[in-house]
Symmetry: C2
Subunit: 411 residues, 2 copies
C-alpha cells in the first residue's frame, strides 16, 4: 500500500466538471489500494479576481491581508473536491494549511515552510479517507495565514510527500511533462522520461516553467520522487529523481530560454576594492534580484560591469545605478531590455569537456553574437539579442541531437 | 473610551466601494476614541454562488465541507476591509473564527457558539488597531470549521460584544431599524426607538426578519445593548435593551405576520393517553419543527388535533401523519397551505387584560375568520386565511394606534 501525493493546478480544477474528473482519477488510485493525499490550487481565475479586488482597496495591498484573501481560493476548491468524492461514495476530508499544520516563516506572500505536521493526515489515511489539502498556504507560529508565492502548491505537495514519507509525488499540469525545450518554438522537442533533481533545478531556474524551483529543491533534499504529468491524459510524464548512470550518457538534457531579463552596463568604473559592493548593495536593498554579473577589466584601473535584472525591475535599477555611477565617477550607464538568455543543461557535462565551446560554435554558425556568458558544473548560459531566441534554441536542440533518445544503456 | 462592536451584512459589503464606505464609517468612530471591532458577512451573492457550486458537486452537500466552502466568503470581505483601512492610514487586522477562537459545537451548518476567547482581539485593540472579524464562522474543539446558520453574523457580533464586555453592539442592515410592522404592507408603520429583549425575541420568532432570534437571546443573556440601524444613513435606529417602565405604557409594540407555515388537522382521533406523543414523535424525528398545536375535544372520547409546520415541510409531514392516522384509527387528515399567522407583541400586555379580546374584535370587524389562536405573556397570534394578511396587519396597526409614539412618560 503506497502513499501517493498528487497535486493539481488551477486549470485542472477550473470548474465543477474538472473537479469531478480529478476526483475520479484520485479515486481510481485509492481503489487500487493506495493512500491518497491530494493538493489543490485555487480554481483558475480566482487568484486574478482576488488580485483585482485587492487592487481596488489598496495601491500596494497589505501582505498579511493579501494572504488572508488569496488563501480563501484553495479553501473553495478543496471543499468542492471533498464533496465530489463523497458524492461518489468514498470518504474524504479537506484540510487547510493551518489544520494540517504547515508552519511557515512570516514572510507574507512568499513564505517558506518550516515544518509540516503529518499526524492528522496520517490518522485520516489510516481511517481509509482520501485527504485533500489546500495548496499554497501555511500558518505562522503566531497563527497568521501565509501563502507560499508562485508555484506554492507544488511546494506544499512535495513538503507533504516528504513529511509523510510518500512513495511518490505527482505534479499534474497542463503539459505532458518536462521537455528537452519549449515545444512551442521547437517542433522536435521531446518529452524527457527521467531527469535528475540537479538538472531540473537548473532548467527551472533558467526559465522552464513546468515546476517551481523550490519544490524541486525540497524534493532533492528529501529524495521525494517527483512525477510531472498531464491532468488530461494517462500517459507517463517525466520523473524527476536522483541522478543515475544512464543520465550521464546524455551530454545535454535540455535547452531553455528566458526573455524576462534586461541587461545594464556601467562603463569605465574606477576599479577600487569594494566597488562591487558599492554598486550592488542599493540594488539588493531595493529587493531587486541580480542574476548574471560580468566584470571586464580595461586598461588604466578601469573596469566595465554588466549584469542582468528582471525586466520588471529594469527602470528602478537604472535609476539607482545612474545615481551611484555619478557618485563613483563611472563614465556612463547603458542598458538593453531586448535580450534573452539561452541555456543548455545536462549532468553529462561534468564528464565531458568542450560542451561550452560547442555551444559557442553553434551560435556563431548562426551569426548570433553572445554578449554575456555564465557557466556552472551542469549548465552554460549565453545572453543574446532577443530576436534570435527561437533560432538559437532550435539550432542548439538540433546540434545536440535532443530529438533522439540517445541513451543506449537506458534501463 | 468605549468598546463598540459593529456588524455589517452582505449588502453593506457587496463591492469594493461599499466596503470602503463601511471602513470610512468605522474609522470615524475609531478617530473619536472608540475601540472598534467590526464583524462582516460575505459579500452579497457569494453565498448563493457557493451553494450553487456545492449543488453541482453533491446532491446534499456534505455539511463539514459546506462549512469549509461557505466560511471562505467572510474571509474575502474581512481581508478587503482591512486593506481599505490600511489604505486610509489606520492600522487594522483581520481575524477568522478560528483565529479569534470562537469555539462551537460540531453541528455543521448550524453550529452554536460555546465560547469566545477575547484575548487576541483585546491585545490588538490595546495596540490601537481596528479589528475585523469574519462573521458566521467558528471552529470545533477538533479544529474543524463550522458555520452558525442563518443570521450567524449577528450572533458572532453579539457573542464578541459579550466576551469583550463591549459598551454596545450595532447591527447595520438595509432597513432603518425595527418597525411596528412591515412598512411594505402598512404605510403608517413607524420605526421603534427602544424595544425590550423579550419583545424583540417574540417579533423575531413571529416573522420579523431584521434580527436573528439567537443573537437577541444572546444579547438578553449577557445584557448587551443592541442597536439595529441602517448602513446607508446616519439616523438612529432601534435600541434593543432591558425592559424599562416606559415600555410598559405601550400596550402593543408591534404587529407581525408569517406566511411560511401550513396547517394540518387530524379529525376524530381516539382520545387516549399518549396520543399526542404518538402523533408528534415521528414528526420531530424527521426534523420538522411544529409551531402551534391545538386540540379540540369532541363528544365520545374523540378529539381533533390541529398544528402548523413550515410550508417547506408540509408534504413530508402530511405523508407521515396520514400513515399514523391510519394506524390509530383517526377519521381523516386535512391540510391548508394558504394560511398566515398574524401576531401582536408588547410587554404592556402583562399589565393589561383584554388585549387578546380586542384583537379578536378587530379581526371580526373586518370579517376575518380565526382558525387557530396561541398566546404568551407578551404576544397573541391568530392563524387566518392567507389572503387577509395585509388587511389584518393594517387593521391591527391602526386599531392599536401604533403609528403614534403614544408614550407620554417616555424619557
Amino acid at each position: 500500500m503506497a502513499i501517493i501525493v498528487q497535486k493539481f493546478g488551477g486549470t485542472s480544477v477550473a470548474n465543477p466538471e474538472k473537479i469531478k474528473a480529478v476526483a475520479d482519477r484520485v479515486m481510481g488510485h485509492h481503489r487500487q489500494g493506495n493512500k491518497m493525499v491530494v493538493v489543490l490550487s485555487a480554481m483558475a481565475g480566482e487568484t486574478n479576481r482576488f488580485v483585482d479586488l485587492a487592487g481596488q482597496m489598496q495601491k500596494i495591498p497589505d501582505p498579511r491581508e493579501m494572504d488572508v484573501l488569496l488563501s480563501s481560493g484553495e479553501q473553495v476548491s478543496i471543499a468542492l473536491f471533498a464533496m465530489a468524492v463523497k458524492a461518489a461514495g468514498l470518504d474524504c476530508v479537506s484540510l487547510l494549511g493551518d489544520q494540517v499544520r504547515i508552519t511557515t516563516d512570516n514572510m507574507h506572500t512568499k513564505a517558506r515552510i518550516k515544518s509540516v505536521d503529518s499526524d492528522r493526515i496520517s490518522k485520516y489515511l489510516d481511517a481509509g479517507k482520501i485527504v485533500v489539502v489546500a495548496g499554497f498556504q501555511g500558518i505562522t507560529e503566531d497563527d497568521d495565514i501565509t501563502t507560499l508565492g508562485r508555484g506554492g502548491s507544488d511546494t506544499t505537495a512535495v513538503a507533504l510527500a516528504a513529511a509523510l514519507q510518500a512513495d511518490q509525488c505527482e505534479i499534474f499540469t497542463d503539459v505532458e511533462g518536462v521537455y528537452t525545450t519549449d515545444p512551442n518554438i521547437c517542433q522536435s522537442a521531446r518529452k524527457i522520461d527521467r531527469i535528475s533533481y540537479d538538472e531540473m533545478l537548473e532548467l527551472a531556474s533558467l526559465g522552464a516553467k513546468v515546476l517551481d524551483i523550490r519544490s524541486v529543491s525540497l524534493a532533492k533534499r528529501h529524495k521525494v520522487p517527483l512525477h510531472v504529468r498531464s491532468t488530461f491524459t494517462d500517459t507517463e510524464g517525466t520523473w524527476v529523481v536522483e541522478e543515475d548512470k544512464t543520465m550521464e550518457s546524455m551530454l545535454v538534457s535540455g535547452v531553455t530560454y528566458n526573455k524576462n531579463e534586461a541587461r545594464i552596463t556601467i562603463s569605465k568604473v574606477p576599479d577600487t576594492p569594494g566597488i562591487a559592493s558599492r554598486l550592488f548593495t542599493p540594488i539588493s536593498d531595493a529587493g531587486i534580484v541580480v542574476d548574471m554579473i560580468i566584470q571586464n577589466t580595461r586598461a588604466g584601473d578601469l573596469t566595465d560591469m554588466t549584469f542582468t535584472v528582471p525586466k520588471t525591475d529594469y527602470d528602478r535599477a537604472m535609476e539607482l545605478i545612474e545615481k551611484i555611477a555619478d557618485e563613483i565617477g563611472a563614465e556612463r550607464v547603458s542598458g538593453d531590455k531586448h535580450i534573452a538568455k539561452v541555456s543548455i543543461v545536462g549532468v553529462g557535462m561534468r564528464n565531458h569537456s568542450g560542451i561550452a565551446t560547442t555551444m559557442f560554435h553553434i551560435l556563431a554558425k548562426e551569426n548570433i553574437n553572445i554578449s554575456m556568458i555564465s557557466t556552472s558544473e551542469i549548465k552554460v548560459s549565453c545572453v543574446i539579442d532577443q530576436k534570435y531566441t527561437e533560432l538559437a534554441v532550435r539550432a542548439l536542440h538540433d546540434a545536440f541531437n535532443l530529438e533522439k533518445e540517445n541513451q543506449p544503456d537506458k534501463e
